[in-house]
């Protein structure tokens, strides 16, 4: 097993498109790391650069502390699982699984034995004689994983491995993948555009946008405390509420409403400052009676999400969405108070898009060195502003 690091990696394609821009990343040994972002954000280019399938314009790739920037893919000790699995259609499952060993000139009997051992551990033993085309998508995916395992790679690179599976199979494959990774404890970098996959699988994750990493951290941290408006907007199954607000003495004025300043951010908020308040619909509750720190409004839209309802409230110059239990039976036109959970209210600087935090913003555990540096930097700004305010 090995750790993976990327230093100031830049990849510029012909035509001047910068897929990666001075990117730094450190993935720890044995970690399940997810790269998340919208399409075209450079996550796949980053993965392919780590694999050696793309040659970076500048910067370094280190695997297990060794600089492999100029090493061909085969010499990096990695295995890659592609979106289409890339199983060779003319070979049997057994030959496919044994293929990495064939490249290394392992004798046939020996490599087929290794293949059948791996296949048995993944529940593929009865399919060894079949061709990939005769298997279901989920089985093909397991064959691709089995092939990666036989290669005895120190790092697994997975490029959207679940996106070709249908919804139900994807859930099964997800559980399978997570357990397999825990069992093998192999460093795994996983590219996906599906945040639920990243949240479910990853020990840590990075959210990317246009060639740069916007936040690195454990999934819960990224979900609950996004560093910036991009991450805040990208994460979450339902779009986050973004509300224009102005700082008044001790409170935030949102439209005609006032809410308390979230604890820990007071230092960064001088009176009169324009800010963006963000709160996820799942952190907003509805109340029949007037509430302090609540938004009064009438229900203009109810969307059924299955287990929840997404309710849109309008009133006092504010539109806010709340996710409520389906049993609440909210009706169109009802007058309600939307109450954001004060613990979960986030405040952003609308001009930079960065989250405003106070001095006591707790550093999330297990964060890569550069992310810590970034935190400290923002903290320092907060302190400076706080000092000026005091």
């Amino acid at each position: 097993m090995a750790d993976v690091a990327v230093e100031a990696l830049t990849k510029e394609f012909a035509g001047g498109v910068k897929a990666l821009d001075q990117l730094d990343l450190a993935v720890e040994e044995g970690e399940f790391f997810a790269l998340l972002g919208p399409s075209g954000c450079g996550k796949t280019t980053l993965l392919r650069s780590i694999a050696g399938l793309e040659r970076p314009t500048s910067g370094k790739v280190l695997i297990g502390g060794r600089d492999v920037t100029r090493t061909p893919p085969g010499g990096r000790g990695i295995a890659m699982v592609f979106q289409d699995y890339a199983l060779l259609p003319h070979m049997t499952v057994a030959d496919n699984i044994a293929y990495p060993l064939k490249i290394r000139h392992v004798p046939k009997a020996q490599r087929l034995e290794a293949a059948s051992r791996t296949a048995a551990s993944l529940g593929l033993d009865q399919y060894l004689k079949r061709r990939p085309a005769e298997l279901s998508g989920g089985q093909q995916q397991r064959v691709a994983l089995a092939r990666a395992i036989t290669s005895r790679a120190k790092v697994f690179l997975l490029d959207e491995p679940l996106s070709n599976l249908d919804a139900q199979l994807r859930m099964e494959a997800r559980i399978f993948l997570k357990r397999l990774q825990q069992e093998l404890a192999v460093t795994t970098i996983y590219v996906t555009h599906d945040q639920s996959e990243a949240l479910a699988l990853a020990d840590r994750m990075a959210v990317m946008e246009r060639g740069v990493i916007r936040q690195v951290g454990p999934p819960v941290e990224v979900y609950l405390r996004p560093d910036n408006l991009f991450v805040a907007g990208f994460m979450g199954a339902t779009p986050i509420n973004l509300l224009e607000a102005k700082v008044d003495t001790g409170v935030l004025r949102v439209g005609d409403n006032r809410i308390g300043i979230p604890s820990g951010t007071q230092a960064g908020l001088s009176s009169g400052r324009q800010v963006t308040v963000a709160v996820r619909p799942e952190h907003v509750s509805l109340s029949d009676a007037a509430q302090t720190g609540g938004f009064e409004g009438s229900v203009v839209l109810v969307e059924h999400l299955g287990d929840d309802d997404l309710v849109t409230l309008e009133g006092g110059g504010v539109t806010i969405r709340a996710k409520v239990n389906i049993d609440d039976a909210v009706q169109l036109g009802d007058l309600r108070w939307a109450v954001p959970n004060p613990e979960r209210v986030l405040v952003f600087d609308p001009s930079t898009g960065e989250r405003i935090r106070g001095q006591n913003a707790a550093a999330p555990p297990r964060v890569a060195p550069h992310a810590l540096a970034k935190d400290a930097g923002t903290g320092a700004i907060g302190t400076a502003a706080g000092g000026a305010g005091g």
Binding site: G52, L53, G74, D84, L88, H90, M91
Partner: protein
């Protein structure tokens, strides 16, 4: 109204009906029969036009005195005995086989390597080059370049050698071979090779393990096509080969005359049958193994 001999009834608005409603039934029916008969007669004539030479090819070798008619009045195998006793007949078939196989090996091998490189490396002007090559290839082994070709092969001291013929024929076939195989290779997902590369495969290994097997139908098509082309080529071996011991069947067949200077139909017909059979056999074999259907992409 009829569409290819099938009468089409029009009912309802009556606008399309040509015949007046009063005498509709019988003439309509009669016309359909007439039209259909004409089609059948035409069909038979066309079929006969193509079938009769084939029939002649199959019957004449077994006929004691073949003429230009089809029939089996005096069944015999003596024609075959004569062919086998002819000093050059069998060896010319062998020569054809050698020339075809050598050319096929060069064409398949070289066009596979070239097509792979051209498919994977984006050279500037690649497509234009391929089209120009394809256009010129018909000139290379054609009549127009006969004299320069002869001079070139002469200067290379390859006149009257198999190598000279094989090189010229292969050069003429390669552009089309590359063109077709490149198309096959373009349709292989890149991830196949990339996954092999990640596991440490060299380019040659990828060609052998990944690309080759995926384009096997394409290789078969190119191979058969090269063999058939060389097998039937008269001009190039006729110009470049001098000694009778080297000439292939396509050239040899022109030497079958009777002592009176007339075409020896007994020898020609029997030899023609022997000359045709290998091509038919190859076609059937490949057809059974791959089928000549169009491969528009390879599914994993």
């Amino acid at each position: 109204m009829t569409v290819i001999g099938i009468p089409v009834e029009h009912s309802g608005d009556g606008q399309l009906d040509v015949a007046p409603p009063s005498n509709r039934g019988k003439p309509e029916w009669a016309r359909a029969v007439a039209v259909r008969s004409i089609w059948y007669v035409l069909g038979v004539v066309v079929a006969a036009f193509f079938a009769l030479p084939m029939l002649w090819l199959v019957t004449a070798p077994f006929e004691a005195h073949p003429g230009f008619d089809v029939g089996l009045s005096h069944l015999t195998l003596s024609n075959f005995v004569d062919v086998f006793h002819n000093p050059n007949a069998l060896s010319s078939l062998y020569n054809s086989l050698i020339l075809s196989l050598l050319t096929m090996l060069i064409v398949v091998g070289a066009s596979a390597l070239a097509a792979y490189a051209l498919s994977r490396v984006n050279l500037p002007g690649r497509d234009v080059m391929l089209y120009v090559l394809l256009l010129l290839s018909s000139v290379v082994s054609g009549t127009a370049a006969m004299v320069p070709l002869f001079l070139l092969v002469f200067d290379m001291h390859l006149i009257n050698t198999d190598a000279g013929v094989v090189l010229v024929l292969a050069a003429g076939l390669l552009p089309a071979g590359i063109f077709i195989l490149k198309d096959f290779m373009d349709s292989i997902p890149r991830s196949y090779e990339e996954s092999a590369r990640v596991f440490g495969a060299s380019p040659l290994r990828m060609l052998w393990d990944v690309v080759g097997p995926s384009v096997r139908p394409g290789l078969a098509v190119i191979g058969v096509w090269a063999v058939v082309n060389v097998w039937g080529n008269f001009l190039i071996p006729f110009i470049l080969l001098r000694s009778p011991g080297l000439t292939p069947a396509a050239v040899e067949i022109y030497s079958f005359y009777t002592s009176g200077g007339q075409a020896n139909l007994r020898l020609i017909s029997t030899f023609s049958l022997l000359y045709t059979l290998p091509v038919v056999v190859i076609y059937l074999l490949v057809q059974r193994r791959y089928g000549f259907r169009f491969y528009g992409g390879i599914k994993g």
